[in-house]
């Protein structure tokens, strides 16, 4: 049905969509390095994935923010901070933070792992649905950075002498690293590998 560039003995450039004979390693149009499939894709995916998971652990154990007001100081981890907001009645913000900083990162770890395993050994999901998952992960991953920006804004803004001050905690750094590593992990996955299952007829799409 669908003919791929590889089946025709061609290699496609992922930057400018042009195709070249299989022996080309550079695209003559845009200068990008080209290969039919990134054979090291999964290795890179898992390497960044592990780095991302490792950085995510301290991001949740250590404080993200240290808030000092006139009479009290408090150190909040991501989850504790969100729960405190919720207890003050700011449900919407608490939910945004929990989604951006907990649900999305965890969801991404699972999704990338699932896709990487699916590319290697097949999966029950048809490639079409796997690809949608890949697109969602690619699109949504960057948005986890929102919490780091919120910390940056709060810390630069709330410097009111004795009245109130907010300083960043070490978790802000490890959280940012986790987001960056996970983005790199998702980018390392060559999406064409997802579709190759159709070509090789290893799995059939359920009707």
């Amino acid at each position: 049905m669908t003919v791929t560039a590889r089946e025709k003995g061609l290699v496609a450039c992922r930057e400018c969509a042009r195709v070249w004979p299989a022996d080309h390693t550079h695209c003559s149009v845009c200068g990008n390095t080209i290969r039919s499939r990134d054979t090291q894709s999964l290795q890179k995916v898992w390497a960044w994935w592990i780095a991302g998971v490792l950085a995510y652990i301290p991001a949740n154990l250590y404080p993200m923010l240290k808030t000092r007001t006139l009479f009290q100081t408090s150190e909040d981890t991501i989850i504790a901070g969100a729960l405190e907001l919720a207890s003050h009645g700011s449900w919407s913000v608490a939910i945004i933070i929990l989604i951006a900083s907990v649900a999305i990162p965890l969801g991404k770890f699972f999704a990338i792992a699932y896709l990487a395993l699916a590319v290697r050994s097949g999966a029950t999901w048809p490639p079409g649905r796997q690809y949608i998952l890949y697109e969602v992960v690619e699109y949504i991953g960057r948005w986890s950075m929102i919490d780091v920006f919120v910390v940056a804004i709060l810390c630069s803004l709330v410097q009111l002498n004795v009245a109130a001050s907010i300083t960043p905690g070490i978790a802000a750094l490890t959280f940012a690293l986790s987001v960056i590593f996970t983005m790199l992990s998702a980018q390392s996955l060559d999406p064409r590998l997802i579709w190759d299952r159709i070509e090789t007829k290893d799995t059939k799409d359920p009707v």
């Binding site: 791929t4 042009r18 845009c30 700011s90 780091v148 709330v158 009111l160």
Partner: protein, 207 residues
């Protein structure tokens, strides 16, 4: 013989996401091409796309530069007040072990969005004027495209909104002009994204 083969490859386009191969006929203004199996947008020819992109990129550049020096949020509490500019927010982690995070935030919300805008103008201006591309245009455009996921101005704007709600408990908050300028930039960049056709740009750069 070689020339014939080259000519032939010229009319082919491979989906960068799933490697599906298509033959493109004559592409008229207003035509849009999508991959049949993964629905990735392969090309969009819009009327005056180049002009729209340059105009929005130019406006965004001016807005970003102006916004750098204006406050985007101001807070008051117990007679103390403080206003933060975007540069302040980016440098919130300055000093101490979080210094690296400052650089990263600076890159994500200011340097990379600005670099992408400038590079876009540099790449497209000669094309719109029907001149030869300026030197290094291909490299400029490739870099600009590679930096797309790392340019996080829109995420920063949503981060501002979240911070506003977080702060209302703690202090009186006022939104400054830079916030609205950044909102405008986000809208302009979204327009640019819709209108931009990577395939057409590479085609024009290759002439």
């Amino acid at each position: 013989m070689k020339d014939v083969a080259q000519l032939d490859l010229d009319t082919l386009i491979a989906c960068p996401k799933c490697d599906a191969l298509y033959r493109v006929g004559v592409v008229n203004k207003g035509d849009q091409g999508r991959c049949e199996r993964c629905h990735t947008r392969l090309f969009t020819r819009r009327r005056d796309a180049g002009l729209v992109i340059i105009a929005t990129a130019f406006a965004s550049t001016v807005l970003v530069i102006a916004a750098l020096f204006l406050p985007f949020i101001e807070i008051r509490r117990l007679g103390f007040s403080n206003a933060a500019t975007i540069v302040d927010a980016a440098l919130a982690f300055y000093g101490g072990p979080l210094f690296a995070l400052s650089l990263a935030v600076l890159a994500l919300i200011i340097a990379l969005p600005l670099a992408r805008l400038v590079l876009t103008i540099y790449t497209l201006t000669p094309l719109v004027l029907d001149r030869k591309p300026w030197p290094g245009a291909k490299r400029a455009f490739r870099f600009s495209e590679a930096m797309r996921p790392w340019s996080m101005a829109e995420i920063f704007v949503v981060g501002c909104a979240v911070s506003l709600i977080k702060l209302t408990d703690l202090a009186r908050v006022e939104i400054g002009p830079a916030f609205w300028m950044f909102v405008a930039v986000v809208v302009l960049m979204a327009v640019q994204n819709v209108v931009m056709c990577r395939w057409s740009v590479w085609k024009a750069l290759d002439r």
